[in-house]
């Protein structure tokens, strides 16, 4: 899709705007692109849209068009599919601006080194008038509200209000408003602690590490000592069959290795 559909000045605020239809056949790798041009009253601009292109798009979208037409027939109405599509896009467009407190559109030219979709030259805004805003222009408001009440709402099965829409004037219209974006974030500023709480914090946090390391050291040291002690012990059968003579007093009594003579306390 990259590279398709870039119309930086494309906006329903202008007297002609474009919906991009991009489709790809199963046996092909490159997508096709067809532009459907609309004029502000919601009809297709056939001075810029080829009928052959529209026929191709209608063929591609035929299952959807048929289902919408069947849904409309059930409600006893006739639907012009592309007017509904135009209503969908144009309503979304002006509703988005209205939600942001705006009644006019601003577009931006693409940068000369443009390689992707959204790189715009924000230093050169193009301001469009609110002439084609459907909630400002009373003629367009009448056209789009008639489609809403006569086609869209019946198509959706929504109850159509008995009260009619009052015509637009200087007071009954969408006005630009100041819109505020609320942005929240966690604010934390580093600062020095008081000496005593700082010492307590350091001791408590360090204790966990020191105690762990100390415990490990004690464990390894005791394991080493036990291992060393076991290596020094004389096996029991050897004790029963051999004896040592004390070199200090020539005692014939059996003296253990690595021990002292019972008589003279000489270390054997």
């Amino acid at each position: 899709m990259a590279g398709f559909g870039l119309h930086t000045q494309n906006t329903p605020a202008q007297d002609s705007w474009v919906v991009n239809v991009v489709y790809e056949y199963q046996n092909e790798t490159m997508p096709h692109k067809i532009d459907i041009n609309f004029v502000p009253d919601g009809t297709i601009d056939f001075s810029k849209t080829k009928k052959s292109d529209l026929e191709i798009v209608n063929t591609v979208m035929q299952p959807m068009i048929t289902n919408v037409e069947i849904a409309a027939m059930r409600q006893g109405i006739v639907v012009d599919f592309w007017r509904v599509v135009n209503w969908l896009f144009v309503s979304s467009y002006w509703a988005l601006l209205a939600d942001l407190g705006q009644t006019t559109a601003t577009t931006y030219p693409s940068l000369p080194s443009f390689q992707g979709y959204y790189l715009m030259d924000f230093s050169s805004p193009v301001h469009h008038p609110e002439t084609n805003n459907i909630w400002v222009n009373d003629t367009l408001y009448g056209i789009y509200s008639e489609l809403l009440l006569g086609t869209i709402m019946p198509l959706l099965g929504s109850p159509v209000p008995l009260a009619t829409f009052a015509p637009l004037n200087e007071t009954n219209r969408i006005h630009p408003t100041t819109t505020t974006f609320w942005r929240t974030y966690i604010c934390s500023v580093r600062e020095l602690k008081a000496p005593l709480p700082a010492m307590v914090s350091i001791i408590v946090s360090e204790y966990a590490f020191v105690k762990g390391a100390y415990g490990l050291f004690i464990f390894l040291a005791s394991w080493y000592e036990k291992r060393k002690y076991r290596q020094r012990m004389v096996p029991f059968p050897i004790l029963l069959t051999t004896g040592n003579v004390c070199e200090g007093c020539d005692s014939d009594d059996t003296v253990l290795l690595d021990a002292c003579c019972d008589r003279c306390r000489h270390y054997v």
Partner: protein, 72 residues
Amino acid sequence: MTVDLAYILWMQSLSGLLDLVIPSEGQSLVYEPPIANNVSSFSLSFNGPILMSWEEANGRVRPTYAKYPSPR
């Protein structure tokens, strides 16, 4: 009816229309497939952002779309 009240109706209908032509995940796919059988992907877009599209995924047609707006 003032334009402010009309706006609310407008938004509800806009949301309903999107649900009708672009069924949400979990809803019955009334339009499956919504495009001709020999087409693998399709999109309607405006200035790049895609309002509605379908593409083949795991042998079935998957609707991909961005819904806007909600009633203010």
